[in-house]
Symmetry: C2
Subunit: 417 residues, 2 copies
């Protein structure tokens, strides 16, 4: 009998009525002959509420104790879901992370899963029970409760699915899949039936917040087919690629490559750019500029250093707009005098637009097509950065929507692949 | 270094401000040189709230899953208290019941503690940490979470104190000790400095709801000195019997016996009496009457069967007033015809008053003093029941306060012993 893992987010678990609906869906899959493991999140708002209590007491609460507190939200969820399943005549049993031994490393509030002991779960599944396991948490080698960080229930679900050799991991969420780009910006955006693991990684890291990035890494490492689909609609069982069945993160790159060059267009509106002019072109200069920035806990994204002219060069990097003022201060306080720059200029009104697709590996001309499209719209490109399956450009923020729409059209993304 | 266990109820843990106060008190004891283990309840209202969610889904939720849910309230509490102790510079660590292996039997929602593994706790205490352990819960042999029933945190605290060989278990609560009787009825009621374990058992079972009765049993079985004291006042350290230090449940009966014949007067207003007249005096008749009552989940308290006259007898028993109508229905539907009684008469306006004291073992005349006092006040006694350290009478409810006050005075309970 095939095993399927279902993951439901906090919104799906957000009220008694919604928990009943989750139970109905799970029961329907069970009736269809599948073994089912469910990984639910805490009821929406609950984890924030209890962490808020801890923060009222202390600005920097001990991470170990924060995990003890934060883990309770999911524990309530699994119990309620089990009771909801019993109420419609299903056998179901819940487990906290420590009970099925989801072993993690020791880093509280952002632990990583090392192993899962599947004995209890398999025994329950074999006698027809639906098994419900708390998302977001595990237990470290000392027997302390750990949590996996925000969105960690996605990671739990994929890890459980991998440990149990599930056929597929279904992530039920409030969107019905992964889109070519944000439908709020481009109304013609199209749901992708499949996306490769690497593309999904790029989409996630570029701000398409459908899945937690570590769950995508996990899916990749264990080659676990993982599908994002809506908890509002009712998919056909068994799932069919063509049907209203969300987006499957696949590991069969070849078939996919034939279909399209570009899979999606991601963007990040709130970027800021900082240029340090006339710095001496000598070893260690990048570290002298970016070291203090990193020390201030500011993440740097794109970095460009131009060819030097007469032993001087210009050094440009981007940070999240949120960190812009802080980054400028760090540079002004110390770095500027130290490296004898002529000037530091910042611009907090820039955005990043990226085209993503494993297809671009084997297709020349993606970059030039992208640049031509932007040029035709009169959009100036301020920075460029590339990877094997992604090209990102930094542009004036006022052109961001225009750029996304123009690229979506230029790469023929409206029509189904 | 002496070890003391502190237990705080839901009201004491009811807000961030109150949790901070608990932390301050715990820190003060720690500063005074004690090793401290704290057993807090869930924040007041929290357990009801989450059990309420479960009952919204199902009228009779699975007890195993109910325990999974209900146990989370204390888990939040221990984490918050640890963080509050860190905030005032104390080292503290929290454990859920399963982490220090509070092993219980398998009966969900009313489990009994079998053993506690003290290794982790002792190691922490030795390096100067304050240890905080969830009340109310443990783990059974299958690794499932169990809870101990309402008020179970008292039992947890006493059990932890016994397992660790603590010097004393302090139960901080919203009253400042055990009184000779309810101060709302007799304004001269006096706080007892000490009460024996057996007296406390009688007081608890008769409705003085200061301590959960099973925690008193535990204290008795393990001879663990347990003290009830107020979480609102600040006792001197070390505690002295004479000071404002609550009531110590003691195991040194002898000294106590010299002091007073009667320790306390307990009462229960909401009783009901049912008499079955003219039943045949033959073996099995009590079971034929009370069997169906017990099957309807009605608890019977006092039972009297008079001497039979001409093969017929009258059979009287009391139930909680809450169960009166149901009990009368059970008797009418079946029992009445079956046992061929002449009549069944009930009275739901009766109350029970009891005098309690280990002293009465060695002092004759307590009963006659009690009956004379009631007679002098013109109060008719409807039923009498006695144990070695208790005499209970059933009277018309309208005389209850009068009886309690008269007995309190007659036994000289106003003056400190």
């Amino acid at each position: 009998m095939a095993l399927i893992v279902h993951k439901y987010g906090g919104t799906s678990m957000g009220s008694i009525e919604r928990i009943r609906n989750v139970a109905k869906r799970v029961a329907k899959w069970h009736d269809a002959g599948y073994q089912i493991v469910v990984v639910p999140s805490a009821m929406s708002g609950e984890t924030n509420r209890i962490i808020g209590l801890a923060k009222e007491i202390s600005e920097h609460p001990d991470p170990r104790e924060l995990d003890v507190i934060a883990a309770t939200g999911e524990q309530v969820s699994v119990g309620l879901l089990a009771i909801a399943l019993h109420a419609i005549g299903k056998q179901a049993v819940s487990y906290a992370g420590w009970q099925v031994a989801i072993k993690t490393d020791g880093s509280h509030t952002k632990a990583r899963i090392n192993s899962i002991d599947d004995i209890k779960v398999k025994r329950d599944l074999e006698i027809g029970k639906i098994v419900i396991i708390t998302g977001f948490q595990g237990v470290n080698e000392h027997g302390d409760i750990t949590t996996l960080g925000r969105g960690g229930s996605d990671t739990s679900a994929v890890a459980v699915a991998a440990a149990l050799n599930a056929q597929e991991c279904l992530i039920f969420t409030d969107v019905d899949g992964v889109y070519t780009t944000d439908p709020r910006v481009v109304s013609e955006a199209r749901r992708l039936n499949t996306v490769t693991f690497e593309e999904m990684l790029e989409m996630a890291s570029l701000g398409s917040k459908v899945l937690q990035i570590r769950s995508v890494e996990f899916a990749g490492n264990y080659r676990m087919p993982t599908r994002v689909l809506s908890s509002l609609t009712d998919p056909l069982i068994p799932l069919k690629i063509e049907a209203n069945s969300g987006t499957l993160i696949s590991f069969e790159e070849d078939t996919h490559m034939e279909q399209a060059n570009i899979t999606g267009i991601a963007f990040s509106r709130d970027e800021a750019k900082i240029t340090v002019f006339g710095v001496p072109d000598r070893p260690g200069i990048a570290y002298q500029i970016l070291g203090p920035v990193a020390d201030a806990n500011i993440e740097v994204d794109m970095i460009i250093q131009n060819q030097s002219v007469e032993g001087k060069t210009d050094f440009t990097f981007t940070v999240s707009r949120h960190d812009y003022t802080k980054a400028m201060q760090v540079l002004a306080n110390g770095v500027q005098q130290h490296i004898m720059t002529t000037d530091i200029i910042g611009n907090a009104k820039v955005s990043k637009v990226s085209v993503i697709g494993v297809g671009m590996r084997s297709h020349v001309g993606i970059a030039s097509q992208m640049f031509r499209t932007l040029s035709e719209e009169g959009i100036n490109i301020q920075m460029i950065s590339t990877s094997e399956i992604k090209i990102s450009v930094l542009i004036d923020e006022k052109y961001m929507e225009l750029a996304v729409r123009a690229l979506h059209k230029a790469f023929d993304m409206e029509s189904p692949a």
